[in-house]
Point group: C2
Chain length 568, copies 2
C-alpha cells in the first residue's frame, strides 16, 4: 500500500446506494467519521437495524451559540420501528449524549450496555423525563438482538465498564471496539480481553471497526496507574489547598485522587454538578471505592485547615461556566489563595488551548501553583496508540477494516496501520459520515452515500437552526449589524418617519449615521416618485445598497444590513 | 524563593505613580506582559522617552471581527514630542506591527534597528503611505539616542538580524533582549553574542528584561540547522509536488527549503503576498541566498513536471484566506493531488489548532501526505528555553529582572529561573501591561500602574470599538438578534404599523413570532392609554420585556433584543 493511496478512497463521492438485498449487511456510520464526537453506526440486515452508540459532538468556533451537534437521524427516521436495539459501548457523552434525542422519536427502543454505562444513560434520560427500556449486558455474554447475535468483550478505556461488541450474522461477522486502549495494569484489573479478541480472530472477523483517535501517536499509551505516584508526590509537597480538575466521568482518575488524599490525611470535596452525580453513581455501583472518612461536603471545607483540603472539580477544558474558570476569575465561592496547588489531571482537547491557558494564567496571577500534563505525568489518554492497534490487527487478522472515531487524519493513519499489518489495501475502507458499506460473504465495500448533515441543538430547538443561520451568526459576531427603518406614505411619496438607524457591534457612535440618512431618504423618495409601484421589498433593497456601499467605503467593514420599509 | 511567591507580586493592584524625579528611570511596558504580542516598553529619564518595540497582538475568539490589537498609546500620547526614538529589536509583527499607528501620531519619530528589520518596517510603512525617519544600526554599535546611550548586541532568533539593546544611563543600565534564542550553530553564523553579554555583565546590568516565551520549556531549543536534513529526507521520498508552508519572515527556514530543492533538482515558487515581498527584500539585502536557477514564478509551475516542483507558501496557521487553506478546500489555483507532499514547517500557535487540523484533514482528504512538527522535526522554536535563559542569568548576573514577552505563566516561569540562578527574590519584578517600574542607583521597584487597555483596529477605525461593542458582537454571534418595530399614533393611542419582527441568527421561521405580536401590540396600547406621556424609550423597554421573556421561555435563548417604537 502506498502512503497516499489510503487517503484517496474516501474522497470519491458516491450516489444513493441500491436497495439492500436479503442476506447482505449494510453499515452506515452517521457520526464519528471525520470528527471526534457524535459516534453512531447503523447496521442493517434483512430489514432490521441495530445501532451502535449514539453520541453528541461539541461545536467549534464556526458554530457559535450551538449547544450540541447530533448525528443526522434522517436516514433512519422512517424506519424507527425496524430498530431492534441500540448498543452503547461506554458512558461518554460522545457515545451516549444523543440517546435522549433518539428516544424522543421512539421511546421504547431497547438499550444495551454495561451496568455503569446504562446508569449514566439513565441519569441523563431522567433529566429529559424519559424512562428507557434498558438491558444490562456483561463481557462474555451473548445477546440475541433481533437478527444480530451480539457478543460483548471487555475493553479498557478512560471510564470503567467499556465494552466492544462482536456481531455474528448470516452476512458475516463484525467487531466494533468502541473506544479502547490496552492498559495492561488497569486500576480495576479489567483489561482489554485479548484472549477474547484471539478467539474471535480464530472464528473470523469479516469487518473490524477500530477506534482511530490515537492512530497517529506512535508507541503505547502509558498506564493510568502511573499517575498515582505523581499525584502523591505533588500532594506531599503541597502546603495549602489542592484543587484537582478532571473529567467528571473519569472514575479511576478520581479514585487515584481519593487515594492520594487519604495517604496525606486530606479530605476531598467534589465540585460541579456532573462530578457529584457521576461519582455518586460510581460509588453506589461499586466502581469507586471512597476511603473511609475522606469524602466531605463542599460546605464543610471552610471548617478545615488548608493543608487538609482537596477539591475535585470539573472545568479542566477551561469551560467558562465551570467551577475552575470561575475560581480563576475570582468569581467562585472557593477562593484561590497564594500557595494553593491546582492540578489539571486532564487532556487538552484541541481547540480549547486558549480557554485552558486563560484559566491557568488566571490561577497563577492569584498565586496558585499550576501543574498540568505539559510538565508532569498527570494525564494519560484513554485511546490505543499505534503500537496497541498493531497488536489488535495481528491478533484479529480481520478481512476488512473500517477505521472509526476520528478526524480524517486519524482514520487515514489507522488505515495505514491496518495495511502495514497485512490487511490488503483494497479491504481498508476509508469512509465518512453517511458512507454506505455493504458486506456479504466476507467482502465489504463502499457502495454509496446517504445524506448526513449536522443537526444542531440550540436552546429548546433541535434541527431548526441551519448552516445559513450559523453563517448569519458568524457575520453578526464579526461585523455586527445595522438596521435602517423608514416609514413611508405611499400615496404622496413622502417619508413619515426615519430613516432611523440602529447599529450594534459596529465601531461607531450613532451620530456617524447622520451623514447618510438624507441620502437614504432621497433614494427612497426618488424611487417612489419614479415608480409608485415599487414594493417595500424593492425599497428595502435600495436602502441596503445605499447604506451598504457607504459603510464599506467609510468604515471598511461589512456588517449585516437589515433594511425595513414600512407603510403607514 | 518559594514556588508560589513569584506569582504573588503581580496581583497587587497599584495606583498612579508619583511624578518622576530627575535621575530616576521609569520603565512602563505598554504591551507584551500577560500576552504574546504587542510588545512595547517605554523608558523615561529626565523628561525624555525611549521606546523599545511597537508590535501588534492578534485577536482571540472573544474579540470577534477585530483585525489587530495595538498597545495603548494613551500613556505617551500627550508627550510624543519627548520621544527621542523607537528601537526595533527585529522585524516580526508583534514587535513592529504597530509602528504605522504610532507614526500616524507623529511621523518623524526616529526609528532605530538593523538593516533587515528596518527594510521590513519600511515595506509596511509604504502600505500606510508613511515615510519614516529610519536609522540603521549594527551589533556592537553605540548610538546616543537622546539621553539614552544604546549599545546593540547580536542575538539569534527565527528572523535574521535581531538585536538586543543595552541602555547606559545616569539612572543605571538596562539590557532588553528582544526575542532571542541561543542557537550555537545558526545558518548565518550570527550567534547570540555571549562575549558581548559577558562584557555587559562585567560592566553591570542593573535591570534585565528577558524574553519569557519558552521559559516553561525545559532544556535547550534545537538548532535550526537540524531541520535541513529532515527536509532533504522528505524531499528525497516525494514523488510528486511538494508544498512547504511556513512564516513569511522566516528567512532561514526558506533558505533550507531552497537548498533542499536545489539538491533534489526541484524549482521553487513563492506563494502568498507577504512571502513574495519578504523574500524579495531578504534576497536583495543579502540575507537569502537563492541557488542559481531554483526560483521560478508561480505561473511557470504548470509547465514543470510534478516531481520538479516545490511551492513555498504562507498559511501555516490555518488562516482561512491564506493559500494553504484555499488549497485544502480546493479553492486555490494550485490544486492538491493524490501523492503530493505538504510540509508544515512551522509552529502551531495556541488557539489555531482547530484551523490547522481542518487544513490538514482537507489536504489529506485530497490525497496529500501531510508532514508536521507533531511527527517530524520540521520546526524549531525561535525562543530560548529554560536552559538557555539560565546561561544568560549566569553570564549577566543582573541586579534586577523584569521578565517580558509572555503570558502570566511564562513571566512567572522566567522569574523563577532568575531566582534559581541567584537573583534575590525581591529583585524579580512580575509586572503587567501598564505596570510602572522606577529605577535609581541599581534599585528597581514597582511603583504604580497606568491605564493600559486594548486598542482595537477594526476596519478603518482605530480605538473606536470598545469592549462593550465586542460583548455585543459575542452575544450577536452566539444568539443572534430580534428587532421589533412598532409605529404608533400618539394622539389616538393606536398602532399604525407593526409590530414588525425581524430576526437573524435565531433558530426560527419568522412565522413563529405571529404568536407574540398581538401581545406586544396590546402592551403598547395599554401603556399609552394608561399614560399618554410614556416616552418612546419607555415603550421600547415595554416591548423588550414582553418579547424577551417570551423568547427566553419559548426558545430558551437570549438573543439581543432591539425594540424600536416610532411615532407617525
Amino acid at each position: 500500500m502506498t502512503e497516499s493511496s489510503v487517503g484517496k478512497a474516501d474522497s470519491a463521492r458516491m450516489q444513493t446506494p441500491a436497495r439492500l438485498k436479503k442476506g447482505t449487511m449494510r453499515i452506515v456510520p452517521l457520526g464519528g467519521l471525520g470528527e471526534v464526537g457524535r459516534n453512531m453506526t447503523v447496521f442493517e440486515l434483512n430489514g432490521k437495524l441495530l445501532i451502535v452508540d449514539c453520541g453528541v459532538l461539541f461545536p467549534e468556533e464556526h458554530q457559535p451559540g450551538v449547544d450540541l451537534i447530533l448525528p443526522d437521524f434522517s436516514y433512519i427516521k422512517d424506519r424507527l420501528d425496524d430498530v431492534v436495539g441500540v448498543v452503547l459501548t461506554h458512558g461518554h457523552e460522545d457515545h451516549i449524549g444523543a440517546v435522549p434525542y433518539l428516544l424522543r422519536l421512539r421511546e421504547d427502543i431497547p438499550l444495551y450496555g454495561s451496568k455503569l454505562t446504562l446508569a449514566f444513560v439513565e441519569a441523563k434520560l431522567a433529566e429529559h423525563r424519559i424512562k428507557a427500556n434498558t438491558n444490562i449486558v456483561v463481557e462474555g455474554e451473548i445477546a440475541q438482538i433481533g437478527n444480530f447475535e451480539c457478543e460483548f468483550v471487555a475493553v479498557n478505556h478512560s471510564i470503567p465498564d467499556a465494552l466492544a461488541v462482536f456481531l455474528r450474522t448470516e452476512a458475516g461477522t463484525v467487531l466494533h471496539t468502541g473506544d479502547f486502549k490496552m492498559d495492561q495494569l488497569p486500576l480495576d484489573g479489567r483489561i482489554t480481553d485479548l484472549r477474547h479478541f484471539a478467539r474471535l480472530g480464530e472464528e473470523g472477523v469479516d469487518l473490524f471497526l477500530p477506534d482511530s483517535t490515537n492512530a497517529e501517536v506512535p508507541g503505547f499509551t502509558v498506564a493510568e496507574r502511573e499517575i498515582g505516584p505523581v499525584l502523591e508526590a505533588k500532594f506531599a509537597r503541597a502546603r495549602r489547598r489542592i484543587i484537582v480538575a478532571s473529567f467528571s466521568s473519569h472514575v479511576h482518575r478520581v479514585q487515584q485522587v481519593l487515594d492520594a488524599a487519604a495517604m496525606h490525611g486530606r479530605k476531598v470535596a467534589f465540585i460541579g454538578r456532573s462530578m457529584v452525580r457521576n461519582m455518586g453513581i460510581a460509588e453506589r455501583l461499586g466502581y469507586l471505592d471512597i476511603p473511609q472518612g475522606v469524602l466531605v461536603d463542599l460546605k464543610q471545607i471552610d471548617t478545615l485547615p488548608d493543608h487538609k483540603v482537596v477539591l475535585m472539580s470539573t472545568g479542566s477544558q477551561g469551560e467558562p461556566m465551570a467551577a475552575l474558570s470561575r475560581m480563576a476569575n475570582g468569581e467562585h465561592k472557593v477562593q484561590i489563595n497564594p500557595g494553593d496547588t491546582v492540578i489539571l489531571a486532564s487532556s487538552l482537547i484541541p481547540g480549547n488551548e486558549n480557554s485552558v491557558f486563560r484559566v491557568i494564567n488566571g490561577l497563577m496571577r492569584l498565586g496558585a501553583e499550576v501543574i498540568h500534563k505539559g510538565m508532569a505525568k498527570v494525564h494519560v489518554s484513554g485511546h490505543a496508540s499505534a503500537g496497541e492497534l498493531l497488536y489488535c490487527y495481528n491478533i484479529l487478522r480481520p478481512k476488512n477494516v473500517l477505521p472509526v472515531h476520528g478526524e480524517t487524519r486519524h482514520l487515514i493513519a489507522n488505515g495505514r496501520l491496518a495495511a502495514q499489518s497485512g490487511v490488503p489495501e483494497e479491504n481498508v475502507l476509508l469512509a465518512e459520515d453517511g458512507s454506505v458499506i455493504d458486506m456479504k460473504d466476507g467482502v465489504a465495500q463502499l457502495v454509496g452515500q446517504v445524506e448526513c448533515g449536522y443537526v444542531y441543538v440550540d436552546g429548546s430547538k433541535v434541527g431548526t437552526i441551519t448552516d445559513d443561520d450559523l453563517k448569519d451568526r458568524v457575520t453578526l459576531g464579526e461585523e455586527g449589524f445595522i438596521s435602517v427603518i423608514t416609514v413611508i406614505n405611499r400615496q404622496n411619496g413622502t417619508i413619515i418617519s426615519g430613516p432611523d438607524i440602529h447599529a450594534r457591534g459596529v465601531a461607531e457612535e450613532d451620530s456617524v449615521f447622520n451623514e447618510i440618512k438624507p441620502k437614504i431618504a432621497a433614494a427612497i423618495v426618488e424611487a417612489v416618485s419614479n415608480n409608485p409601484n415599487h414594493t417595500t421589498h424593492q425599497l428595502q433593497q435600495i436602502t441596503r445598497r445605499v447604506i451598504g456601499s457607504w459603510v464599506s467605503r467609510k468604515l471598511r467593514r461589512r456588517p449585516m444590513i437589515v433594511p425595513v420599509v414600512l407603510e403607514a
